[in-house]
């Protein structure tokens, strides 16, 4: 079975400081979801940057979607992320000068392979975007609204639609629910995980909120400072 992630002795430290990240072993099969739980400021976001290929791996093995990130040059890591991953932030995911539809369709405009994948499965990128919007509970009446007219919850749904466009294999989510209220948090998370699963995409999500952990196949609890 292909692996979404395979980390071994992954270590990352800022110059002159004790290691921020040390993960001896972590494996995530393709299609499964991983929850990384830890307090804020512990280095979770840096780990996501490493997995997304934005930051260079310093030490240890870091295989993402079958690619050894420590050996890929930056431009190819960017390409891997652009073609095969989706990223969701805590909030402010959307470009304020584009409307909802343009934001959702961005990945397919940026990478032809994602547009092709969307067309192959759904007929066209627009069809996939609208299907995903419907599944994530985003009314089509919002489709051509400016994004600042949307609530935070609606904006996060647009971000999820965008991340899932063009059949990515890995979704990286950094506290995607923490800007939402409690009831919305679980509903949004379930929709995100289910939709990703339907597309056989793995979700790697970091959060400080342990209540969300039971939705995931795997949970990685960030070691406390002493242990690190």
């Amino acid at each position: 079975m292909p692996l979404a992630l395979h980390l071994s002795e992954l270590t990352h430290a800022w110059p002159g400081q004790a290691p921020l990240i040390h993960i001896p072993q972590l494996t995530l099969p393709q299609g499964q979801h991983l929850f990384i739980q830890g307090p804020s400021g512990c280095g979770k976001s840096t780990l996501l940057s490493l997995l997304a290929g934005v930051q260079q791996v310093q030490q240890g093995g870091c295989q993402v979607l079958g690619q050894n990130l420590s050996e890929l040059p930056p431009i190819q890591r960017d390409r891997l992320r652009g073609e095969h991953m989706g990223v969701i932030f805590q909030q402010f995911n959307l470009l304020p000068f584009l409307d909802v539809a343009a934001n959702a369709l961005l990945p397919t405009r940026l990478f032809a392979s994602r547009a092709a994948a969307a067309s192959q499965v759904w007929g066209s990128p627009q069809a996939q975007a609208q299907a995903l919007a419907e599944r994530l509970g985003l009314p089509l009446s919002l489709w051509h609204q400016p994004v600042h007219q949307l609530s935070v919850g609606q904006q996060q749904r647009v971000a999820a639609v965008r991340a899932l466009m063009g059949q990515p294999q890995l979704l990286i989510a950094d506290e995607p629910t923490s800007a939402l209220d409690d009831a919305n948090q679980l509903e949004f998370l379930d929709l995100l995980l289910n939709t990703a699963e339907q597309q056989s995409a793995s979700v790697v999500m970091v959060s400080h909120n342990a209540r969300l952990a039971d939705r995931f196949h795997q949970v990685y609890v960030w070691p406390t400072q002493e242990a690190a």
């Binding site: 976001s45 934005v54 390409r79 891997l80 992320r81 995911n93 470009l95 940026l110």
Partner: protein, 432 residues
């Protein structure tokens, strides 16, 4: 590329207030630079063409530039005169096709009065075009008909400004009209017999009379007696003037046209070696070049100032975009998250600043065209400069290209900042 262009445009549009202001500042600076250049070229061309057809300007020995300025452009006044016999001698030279005397010193409502001969109307060319009549005809020859002494021809601008028609009676003023000795020639009113078409040359602003008419107005003057005291005596005398006696003693200048332009140097040498009177013969082109040498410093400083204004406008574009970049770190992080490489972001921001600069440059060119269209009448009438608004000249293209290069350089600053920030921030820009 089309996608990036539309993305850059939409991003820029969301910050349109600030960007519109810097675009306008670029446009204004380009307007200044282009207008200065256009005026410089058109002024030069108008000046050069004002003289087309005149091969030599002859006058008393002195400064060539001065001679040309007062005899052709009626700027300044002659300090000395040349003898009339010099003119007669020039007329008899076989190489000379035509020679026109120019007598200056009087004005009509501030416009110079040119005492000359009717030959001027057939031989003078401006912008390569001969003179044509809007109304009426040339003044007659006083040697044939005494009535011609009372005739005057108006340049287009003089007629337009005062609304003169054929048959109007005008009174010339001695001198420029401001000094203590400057008296009106009230005893010698002149009748308008012809009005010239506009040419763009200084002749539009001139009043033309026969050399004999000019002389008649000054009969008995120059004797060291106040004109006022002589007025009564002259009034009776004027009526009995015989045109044959009205040959002037001296002239301000003579315009000469040759049969063959290649003889210009030998003719000049001959004129300058006349015995009676130290004369100077000036090639208008050479004199103009000397003039341009003088004016060049001013011209160049104007262009330099224009260039500096333009460069500072480009820098202000860079500054505005650089400041805006702090607020766009989130935008950059979102793009990074979607797999856009830092280098592509550099290009993306570069595209925007170039868009702003090029739009400003295009707008400035448009403004300058509009300004030239709007001001061309004023420039022709007030300054005798015939502007030719149109597609930018080669020099204007060069400065536009130079400006675009500066714009490109200025655009690199914010783009480089975007590159740096996107590498530094990655997916996590500081909260703004």
């Amino acid at each position: 590329m089309k996608f990036w262009l539309s993305l850059a445009w939409q991003s820029a549009w969301s910050r349109r207030q600030a960007l519109a202001l810097v675009t306008v500042s670029v446009a204004v600076s380009v307007l200044i630079l282009l207008s200065v250049q256009q005026l410089r070229e058109d002024a030069r061309r108008s000046f050069s063409n004002a003289l087309s057809g005149v091969d030599l300007i002859v006058g008393p020995r002195g400064s060539a530039t001065e001679l040309m300025l007062y005899s052709v452009f009626q700027i300044g006044r002659p300090s000395r005169n040349m003898g009339y016999n010099g003119f007669q001698e020039i007329q008899t030279m076989p190489q000379v096709r035509w020679a026109v005397p120019i007598q200056l010193g009087d004005t009509y409502q501030g416009h110079p009065v040119l005492g000359t001969t009717a030959t001027l109307f057939t031989e003078f060319k401006s912008q390569g075009q001969g003179l044509t009549w809007a109304q009426g005809r040339a003044f007659g020859d006083p040697q044939q008909q005494a009535a011609a002494l009372k005739e005057v021809v108006l340049g287009a601008e003089v007629a337009r400004r005062f609304g003169h028609q054929l048959g109007d009676q005008l009174v010339m003023t001695h001198g420029s009209g401001g000094g203590p000795e400057d008296t009106d020639h009230e005893d010698q009113p002149l009748k308008v017999v012809g009005i010239l078409q506009a040419t763009g040359a200084p002749i539009d602003r001139s009043v033309l009379v026969n050399l004999e008419t000019f002389e008649a107005m000054h009969q008995g003057w120059g004797l060291g007696i106040s004109p006022k005291a002589l007025q009564a005596a002259q009034a009776s005398q004027a009526a009995t003037l015989d045109p044959k006696d009205l040959q002037p003693v001296s002239l301000s200048a003579v315009w000469v046209g040759l049969h063959n332009r290649t003889e210009v140097f030998s003719v000049r040498r001959k004129i300058e070696s006349f015995n009676q009177d130290p004369l100077m013969a000036v090639l208008p082109g050479v004199a103009l070049d000397e003039l341009w040498q003088v004016v060049k410093v001013v011209e160049n400083s104007l262009v330099l100032v224009g260039g500096l204004v333009a460069a500072s406008a480009m820098l202000s574009v860079a500054a505005v975009l650089l400041v805006a970049m702090a607020g766009r770190r989130k935008e950059l992080a979102i793009m990074r998250a979607m797999g856009v490489a830092p280098r592509a972001l550099l290009g993306y921001v570069l595209l925007e600043s170039m868009l702003v600069c090029l739009l400003g440059i295009a707008l400035g060119e448009f403004f300058s065209l509009g300004l030239m269209w709007g001001a061309q009448d004023l420039l022709r009438v007030q300054f005798g400069v015939l502007v030719q608004p149109g597609w930018p000249s080669q020099q204007a293209w060069l400065s536009l290209a130079a400006l675009s290069a500066v714009a490109m350089l200025a655009s690199v600053l914010p783009a480089w900042q975007a590159y740096r920030l996107s590498l530094m921030d990655g997916l996590h820009p500081p909260a703004v």
